[in-house]
Symmetry: C2
Subunit: 283 residues, 2 copies
């Protein structure tokens, strides 16, 4: 099942995508659908079928909708640094014992077709295609099986990074949280369609040039492992997002380094999930 | 003026402290008071005087109240790494050009007299007394003067750190966000009492032994400078918190390293603001 959050004249609304049509739901966004499903002790797909978030109007065409970040207001957005085995090997690093974790805020997110601002203060705005885990259940100190069961599904993200700000100090935060910098969507594909640790091709294209290609089967810390680890030191809640890291091919690692500029089209794709298309606009 | 958030049978409530008495306000917490003051285009003290959050009952004794984190649900909690000039000099570092910034989440906070859990997974739980800036106005790309005017006031914090987890990778997050790990309070002292960059003694005592002493006048990046810098890359909102860094004397830097254990009393004090007293309890 595919779930979206779309913008309306008075806020946002969740919907179920069926082919080219969308059934609006009586929930304001996908995060609310996931919370309602947890309260009903059902999976998101079961909850929709059971009418937990009933239809709230006739079906509408998908192509005419203005999509929001699939979860517009997650409580927590975690991100993983080095996580693709071939990329770590090519850089000559050893495989890490623990995931390198940092975070974004909800207002760092961007819709799947929104314009991406290139801030005037940023010298190198870089791309990072990432599989994003959407949490469906409240977990703390979960083992791998409980963490796998807590995965609502997956979406596509781009951990767009102000690389010069990221590298000003040891801590990445100031390069990772610019408002509306990180597109996420276009929809949540529920875990009953993909399983808890799918092996999917991820790619990123900038203005027609393929920059990144990888497979999520090469993740050192797969989604259940990541959620179990994170749940040791914090409580995860329905709607929380975990960006799982990016493969090689970022702009900062090229000679010379390159970044996103005014007019670039950033296309971020994950097989069996979907594509984000964001036009870059000088801020 | 001193503002608190205290717990009641049905949630929390804001209050004004006058001597040993507290006037409850018709706002659920200090964050709501600050948002209401901004909406009225008044300072927090002006807003209280003008009845923006009117009294909601007779005065009660301060000593009988169960204090919550002074802002229980900040949207953003930022923290600064190295920021005390003498501590940087004693470690042989150069002064940084930019503040090292990371963050906590709202659920990482703890009340000023709550028990502090020592999690079983943590080998070294360490202390860090910090002056905490409470944001009063929405700011983005603020200059130093606008940032100074956006400071609602100050409170006391302890950036309690799971040092072994913090040092597992380059990114501090996983050592900084354990649930209920970071006491903050006991109250907000408004900026009209302290100014935007006060020079105050900060100290931390563990079970009667003074571990840390410093002066906020030694901050490399003072509160207005920090808020202006942060507002470049994110929007700050009323109730957001900025922990400003800690002086020398942490447990991890001692020989041998020492940390908090079951039964320890952690006392965190800032001159002219107040004191946090948290008993450590094995989790």
């Amino acid at each position: 099942m595919r779930l979206i959050t779309f913008r309306t004249d008075d806020g946002t609304r969740a919907g179920v995508v069926r082919g080219t049509e969308v059934t609006p739901l009586a929930c304001p966004d996908v995060g609310a659908v996931l919370a309602a499903a947890q309260a009903a002790e059902l999976t998101p797909a079961e909850a929709i079928s059971a009418g937990v978030c009933p239809a709230a109007g006739p079906a509408v065409g998908l192509s005419g909708l203005d999509l929001a970040p699939v979860v517009p207001n997650p409580g927590k957005v975690l991100c993983v640094g080095l996580n693709y085995r071939p990329h770590i090997a090519e850089m000559g690093h050893d495989e890490p014992d623990h995931p390198t974790l940092f975070n974004k805020w909800a207002d760092s997110l961007l819709g799947p077709a929104d314009d991406l601002e290139v801030p005037p203060e940023v010298e190198l705005l870089d791309w990072e295609v990432e599989l994003v885990v959407v949490v469906g259940r409240t977990i703390r100190r979960a083992d791998r099986a409980a963490a796998a069961a807590a995965i609502a599904g997956f979406t596509v993200g781009n951990d767009v990074s102000a690389r010069d700000w990221q590298n000003r100090t040891t801590q990445f935060l100031q390069g990772k949280v610019w408002p509306g910098s990180s597109p996420v969507g276009p929809w949540l594909v529920t875990a009953d369609d993909l399983g808890p640790a799918p092996d999917l091709e991820v790619s990123c294209t900038v203005s027609g040039t393929r920059m990144q290609t990888g497979r999520t089967g090469d993740l050192i810390f797969d989604p259940p492992t990541l959620l179990a680890y994170v749940s040791t030191f914090t409580t995860l809640q329905p709607g929380d997002l975990v960006f799982t890291g990016t493969p090689g091919g970022v702009g900062a690692a090229r000679t010379p380094p390159i970044g996103l500029g005014d007019g670039d089209e950033l296309v971020t794709t994950i097989e069996a999930i979907g594509t984000l298309r964001n036009r870059c606009v000088a801020g």
